[in-house]
Amino acid sequence: MNKRMWRCFVCNDIHFGVKGPAVCPTCGAKNAFVLADNGEALNVIDNYGGTIDTVEGMVRVWEDLIKDKEFKLAEDREMVETLAKGELENMKGKGLKYCPCRITTGDYEKDLSLICPCNFLVQKTWKEYGECWCGLFVKR
């Protein structure tokens, strides 16, 4: 898939995908996404901040994600925080918040599937035990 950066020329929303959204999810403008230079798009994003670099921040993201979903966070808070710390370590060392319970293969494209949250609904552990590989997300 040839994914690129797209910028809404009305509100500067940035989208990464094969094409821009037909309707801007932020300002509602129609057909307003224009192909953007990567550097330009990243510059716009950078100036909005949005770093998630604390355990509390990570957990907040996960808590938002699980709303109205068929899965929830593991009840063991210490475990959840340990995983958040691991992902922050991986962010520092490897540049992405990879799952601390798997390792990268060195194939960048393949390793993108290891960024947490991953698409765990297709994993064997989800089908067999109702949880993601590391046990962070569990079936309700």
């Binding site: 691991g86 992902e87 370590e89 319970c101 798997r102 390792i103 290891l114 590391c134």
Partner: protein, 97 residues
């Protein structure tokens, strides 16, 4: 004394992996009760260990169901692997094979 390279039973683990933490007492019990030597190698903070795990990657990822996950055990003598949470009895049976 630790087994020599090429003949080891290796436990690949991650420092921040909760299942690895839960696996530790199982590993310790196995070593104490059977005398089996298990070499612990951390893979997220030691690239050399990660590289070794990737070398055994085909077998390990098959045992893990697709990815290179931890905790994973690899027996250098038999070329067999076991991956994910496992019971004491299961690990013992595998390690003594």
């Amino acid at each position: 004394m630790a087994d020599e390279v090429g003949k080891r039973t290796i436990w690949f683990m991650g420092r921040e992996c909760p299942h690895c933490k839960q696996t530790r007492p199982v590993v310790e019990r196995l070593m104490a009760e059977t005398g089996v030597e298990i070499t612990e190698l951390e893979v997220w903070h030691n690239e050399e260990n990660a590289h070794l795990m990737r070398r055994y990657g085909e077998t390990i990822s098959r045992a893990c169901g697709g990815d290179l996950g931890v905790p994973a055990f690899y027996n250098e003598r038999t070329g067999k692997a076991i991956c994910g949470r496992t019971s004491y009895d299961n690990l013992k049976k595998w390690a003594l094979e």
